[in-house]
């Protein structure tokens, strides 16, 4: 683990206080191409441990791509090439010798569209632990309950764990996906626009949940909803056309943007 470094101050000279943080994820000069098209340009940043870091930006700016680099989900797309370094907890993510499945067990992910497996609620949560080789019923029971409690879903589903997960409401499904992700106790939780398909009440519940989860997990969230970023995140990065335009403490970025383009975006002049 690297020593605590000053992240915010160097990037955001306008930040009122420079906070010392432990970085969980370090990205250095990351570039990514889909075929010939460059989707990420020389992105460098650090994600502090046990904080919520948000990426905002207009559609197609590369924020989801950046997120998917962290657990190498981009590997699934044909013709992707990357350059640069990502370290998570000191491990080089793009090390050719690295077992991708090991990485993904440490970096959980929640997707834009809730995607529970067509299985029972219980089996959805138990899926990850089973993959890891946990098979004893008592152990699984404990993990399932703890994860569902962690995702604030336990009280709603404890009587129907055997029922299909597809019978849950949209918000419940998304919280189930969170429970499923935290069941394997990852270090980092990636969330790709987790509330974009939810109504305001369900969104509020997820946001509340994120604030609880950040005590145990480092969360990186991609959102196109600036209010959401402002409400929940500690740090925000603004991306545009594959570049990380600005990164800093959320309050600073929203009240006192350093870059003209950031200002234009957050004041609604484009996007």
């Amino acid at each position: 683990m690297s020593a605590p470094v000053q992240v915010a101050a160097s990037l955001n000279p306008h930040a009122t206080t420079a906070i010392l943080e432990t970085p969980m994820v370090e990205i250095e000069q990351l570039s990514l191409w889909y075929g010939d098209k460059q989707a990420l340009k020389d992105v460098s940043m650090s994600v502090p441990k046990h904080r919520i870091t948000a990426y905002i930006g207009p559609s197609g700016c590369g924020k989801s791509t950046l997120l998917r680099c962290l657990n190498r989900m981009n590997d699934l797309v044909d013709g992707v090439t990357t350059k640069g370094v990502i370290r998570i907890g000191g491990t080089d993510v793009y090390d050719p010798g690295l077992d991708v499945t090991e990485l993904r067990k440490r970096v959980g992910m929640v997707f834009q569209k809730s995607n529970p497996f067509p299985k029972s609620i219980y089996e959805n949560v138990a899926y990850g632990p089973r993959i890891l080789g946990v098979n004893r019923r008592a152990d699984l029971d404990g993990i399932v309950e703890r994860s569902l409690r962690g995702a604030a879903l336990w009280d709603e589903v404890q009587d129907r764990l055997g029922e299909s997960a597809l019978g849950l409401s949209g918000g419940q499904q998304q919280r189930l996906c969170i429970a499923r992700a935290i069941a394997v106790e990852p270090d980092v939780l990636l969330m790709d626009e987790p509330c974009s398909a939810l109504d305001p009440i369900a969104t509020a519940r997820i946001e509340e949940l994120m604030l609880e989860l950040k005590n145990s997990y480092t969360i990186v969230i991609v959102t196109h909803n600036m209010q959401q970023a402002a409400r929940v995140s500690d740090y925000t990065g603004f991306m545009l056309l594959g570049e990380l335009v600005e990164f800093g403490v959320t309050r600073g970025l929203f009240t006192n943007p350093r870059d003209k383009r950031t200002e234009d975006y957050i004041t609604g002049r484009f996007g």
Partner: protein
């Protein structure tokens, strides 16, 4: 076009009517088909009243009326078709009688209908019971006495059958095995020695056993339990050994209850018994067995093959021109006429694969082919080939309908591609696989053409499963309901008598297909409920 007509056309109303009419047409045709099969099939087992007709020229005949139609050329005259039976006495089972010729109709209570092992129905009055030349009873008491003896006769018949089929059959089978081993040794150049002597001794033993059984059979056959003397209408007499009697009933004495009981018994006989009289009588059990077994072997072969192929096409192959071509080819395969598959089955499975198997493993039986001739394995394989496109297409559609997100979710949890495929994709695609299997089974159960040249026969001496090792005989020929319909209806020596059998067998085939489908649908629905997916 007038404004009114145009407005009417633009309202869309005529098109709705057109679509509705098309659907109604389809429904009426299906309903008509089922109705015709039902009416023709269900009446077959009902014991019809026996009518005695006295003609104006003094001749009499007795039988059940099966048809009535206008006499060709005469406007208001009708004629009736009477099933008189007694083919051995008068030559024809059915006669046409002009109604104008009939002087008297009556329903005598004492006319018996006798089902026997050969020559079709015997219709007449029972006049005596004899044993040899001795008359045991005559007049009305004859039937009383005969009824007492019938169970014994039936037991005897069963025992004879048992000896013929099982006991002698087993000896024949064992003899054949020994002969083949001797022949095998001979092919290896061994013509004397301990092994050969042992086999020869065994052969002699079997021959002894065979003689014992043969003697027993002769004794059983000689042990007559008496004969019925039946006087048919028209004066001819028939002496019928009780051992040949299968059933005797007096339709004119039976009430609705008795007739219903008779009906149920006949239906059961139809479903559970072997055919008699070149398939025109008796049951169709071997054909049911063959059909179901062939469909099952086919399912066992086609499901894994089709599912794996679909998985490769959709999950692993790089989507491009080649895969698209393969996909189109697979789809077109479903449209190839089935007889083409049959010809392939003969040319490849039977001649090439079967012939090679015979050369390698059944050398001693040659020139008699073992696998190098039609059999249930080759028929099932041919049908598996015929139905594989159905399974592939259904599975592929199922795979395509699984959201990308579901797979990503599994991968993001650290599962490998294989774990994802086996633990998430496969269960989710299960209902689609079953849909494919349902369609494949329905198609296979109804297919006849390719079977006729790959292993179906008119009458199979034994079922593909029996008590002789290895119990499952995949090389055996088998009977099939679809072929049975064709055979009974169009190849039978007694078409009039066999016609109702065509409809009953058709009804049975339909019922079996429906049941196989219902079973698979129930299974699919259970899976769907379990996963609550909306997959195809």
């Amino acid at each position: 076009m007038s404004t009114g007509a145009r407005k009417f056309w633009r309202s869309g109303e005529p098109f709705i009517w057109l679509t509705g009419a098309a659907l109604a047409m389809a429904l009426i045709m299906v309903a008509g088909l089922i109705l015709i099969i039902l009416t023709n099939a269900l009446g077959f087992f009902w014991p019809d009243a026996i009518v005695r007709l006295t003609l104006k020229d003094g001749k009499t005949l007795a039988g059940s009326i099966v048809d009535r139609e206008r006499v060709p050329g005469a406007a208001d005259q009708f004629r009736i078709k009477v099933r008189v039976g007694n083919r051995d006495l008068y030559g024809a089972d059915f006669v046409w009688v002009d109604e104008a010729q009939i002087a008297k109709r009556e329903r005598p209570a004492d006319v018996a209908v006798i089902e026997r092992t050969e020559w079709g129905l015997l219709i007449g009055t029972i006049t005596a019971l004899r044993e040899g030349d001795r008359v045991l009873a005559s007049g009305p008491t004859a039937w009383e006495e005969a009824r007492r003896r019938l169970p014994e006769a039936e037991r005897l018949r069963a025992e004879i059958r048992q000896v013929e089929r099982s006991d002698i059959g087993a000896i024949n089978y064992a003899q054949e095995q020994v002969r083949l081993r001797l022949r095998g040794l001979e092919l290896d150049g061994v013509t004397s020695g301990v092994a050969v002597d042992a086999l020869r001794a065994r052969m002699a033993e079997l021959q002894e056993a065979y003689k014992v059984q043969e003697a027993r059979l002769a004794e059983l056959r000689g042990r007559g339990a008496g004969s019925l003397v039946v006087t048919a209408e028209g004066g001819k007499e028939k002496t019928l050994p009780l051992a040949q009697v299968i059933d005797v009933y007096f339709p004119n004495q039976m009430g609705v209850g008795a007739k219903s009981l008779h009906y149920v018994a006949k239906v059961w006989e139809f479903v559970a018994d072997d055919p008699r009289e070149s398939n025109t009588e008796g049951g169709v059990f071997p054909a049911i067995f063959g059909t179901v077994m062939m469909v099952m072997i086919m399912s066992i072969l086609v499901t894994p093959l089709g599912v794996l192929a679909a998985f490769y096409l959709r999950e692993y192959a790089r989507q491009g021109t080649f895969v698209s071509t393969v996909r189109i080819a697979v789809n077109n395969l479903a449209g190839v006429p089935s007889i083409v598959f049959g010809v392939f089955g003969v040319g490849f499975f039977i001649y090439v694969v079967g012939g090679t198997l015979d050369q390698l493993f059944f050398r001693e039986a040659l020139p008699t082919p073992t696998f190098g001739t039609g059999g249930i394995l080759w028929a099932s394989l041919t049908l598996a080939l015929l139905t594989i496109p159905v399974v592939i297409v259904a599975t592929e559609e199922g795979l395509a309908s699984i959201p990308r997100g579901t797979r990503e979710a599994s991968l993001a949890l650290g599962a490998t591609k294989l774990e994802t495929t086996l633990r998430v994709v496969l269960p989710a695609v299960m209902p689609s696989i079953l849909t494919g299997l349902i369609l494949a089974m329905a198609r296979a159960a109804g297919e006849v053409a390719p079977l006729m040249i790959t292993g179906v026969v008119k009458l199979a001496p034994s079922l593909p499963i029996d008590s002789a090792w290895p119990f499952l005989h995949l090389d055996r020929k088998f009977m099939h309901l679809g072929f049975h319909i064709y055979d009974v209806g169009f190849q039978s020596p007694n078409v009039d008598a066999a016609r109702p059998m065509v409809f009953t067998t058709t009804l049975l085939l339909l019922t079996i297909v429906v049941f196989l489908n219902l079973f698979a649908i129930a299974m699919r629905n259970r899976l769907r409920r379990k996963y609550a997916t909306a997959a195809v």
